[in-house]
């Protein structure tokens, strides 16, 4: 693209905020009540991160990978692609992330989770809790209807933030690149739509990534899987 410096974020906004929110709303209504089991799975991920144990990393990785694929299919490909031609690329990135998490967390059992032993660990837990409960409540506080708010395992931002929290707990900065990139893309979209919470996903992602990089050698080595 020539003269790229003359483009603003608004030039890449293909739809109105109303259209986007109606799309999310229609999607949430279509999949209801799947939100309940995904939130339960989110709680399982939070407990795995909190308590740790022999299989905690594998359980969390499996749940997150399945939900990343579900979001890739149900949100990006089935819905978002109807208003954004870039959505199939987002879906592909989500599948890549899912496969990566399966390989590193489930197959290799390389995620060392919980119990929390310091401030960074508690920040990781707080990020997961924020993704599960804070994001929907923030959406409501900003005047969005319940079907328009972010939900873990259903919409991409809450799913990415919970994943970042889990990966921060596991000190897996290499696995955080795509979720952090998504948060940047989403933040840019929200910024272009003049959403007041536009900075939440990118700032949270940047902080999680920075903390993971800064403390990646401080957690004890992975327990043997068997």
């Amino acid at each position: 693209m020539s003269e790229w410096w003359t483009y603003t974020l608004a030039d890449f906004l293909l739809f109105s905020p109303q259209t986007y929110l109606r799309l999310v709303e229609g999607y949430q209504r279509d999949v209801w009540p799947v939100q309940i089991p995904t939130l339960v799975l989110g709680v399982v991920v939070a407990l795995a991160a909190l308590r740790g144990g022999r299989s905690a990393g594998r359980i969390a990785a499996l749940i997150l990978a399945v939900l990343w694929i579900a979001v890739a299919w149900a949100f990006h490909l089935e819905r978002y692609a109807t208003i954004n031609w870039a959505a199939p690329y987002f879906a592909a990135a989500f599948v890549v992330q899912a496969v990566w998490m399966l390989a590193t967390g489930f197959v290799r059992n390389g995620w060392n989770l919980g119990p929390p032993r310091g401030t960074v660990d508690w920040i990781a837990i707080a990020l997961i809790v924020f993704a599960l409960a804070g994001e929907p409540l923030l959406g409501r506080a900003l005047g969005r209807a319940w079907p328009q708010v972010e939900v873990f395992g259903i919409t991409p931002d809450a799913t990415a933030l919970a994943t970042l929290g889990t990966l921060l707990m596991a000190r897996q900065p290499g696995s955080m690149a795509l979720p952090a990139l998504w948060c940047a893309v989403s933040g840019a979209l929200l910024w272009a739509m003049e959403a007041p919470d536009a900075l939440v996903p990118p700032v949270a992602a940047l902080a999680a990534l920075a903390l993971a990089l800064a403390t990646r050698r401080r957690r004890p080595p992975q327990r043997p899987a068997w």
Binding site: T6, L14, F15, T19, R22, R79, T82, I83, W85
Partner: protein
Amino acid sequence: MLQRTVVDAARRRLLRALAAGGIATTLRAMPAFAQPAGLITRPIPSSGEALPVIGLGSWITFNVGNDRAARDGCMEVMRAFFAAGGRMIDSSPMYGSSQDVIGDGLERLGKPARLFSADKVWIAPGTRGPAQIERSRQFWRVPRFDLLQVHNLLAWEEHLPTLLAMKSAGRLRYVGITTSEGRRHSDVERIMRAHPIDFVQVSYNVADREVEARILPLARDRGIAVIVNRPFREGALLKAVQRRPLPPFAAEMQAGSWAQLILKFIVSHPAVTCAIPATTRVDHVRENMAVALGPLPDAALRRRLIEHVERA
């Protein structure tokens, strides 16, 4: 041979009768789509065909995906547009679902004969252009486009020969290029001088007047029609000026709103063929189309409007 000639003649008569019947049916079915008297039009320089000075854009506003209620809203906007005498609807493969939403609406409105379909090709490399154009045509549900433009000059060296060949073959009526927000104006000028294009699409309004210096005069010299996009800077210009009351001279222009004032400024430039404001609201499309009914400002009023906006 004789038998075949007789059959062909009979078939021609039948087709003429069907066509006449079809037209009559269309006219009966869509009495509201007749052109209102006094609508201001401008000729396309390369053909003389008249176009109303207000068209309909689809950037952002018609990209509503599969939302049925929103699609119904877009169809109502198109219905009001045609009822007010509108002709040109402009879209692009870049605009998400807009092409399909337009095609869906056109079909449900009975494929208005007034339609002047303006679309774009936006893909690289240029070898992929024909496939994209065909996909776009299927979305629009039209037999052929009236106008195809190279969107933002992307791969224009490859697309332009394709479009000109389509025009020569009778599969396209007009060829154009587009840019927006003042980008690549030197390339636009170069193409306007060197290639037989019918249309150029640029951004122009009372606050963004760069094209007045070279592109608009060149369009007049070369006999190229001008489509104006982003007349309200995607709403930002209206937001900026609407804090102030309308200037007293708005009454002289019969402009009842800032939107009408800005559109009147744009289409009063003698080189401009039409402006293509986009909207999701029926009342706004009617307000926009009313611009093509009232008087347009002369040079003195245009200057006063520029001064008024620059003071704002």
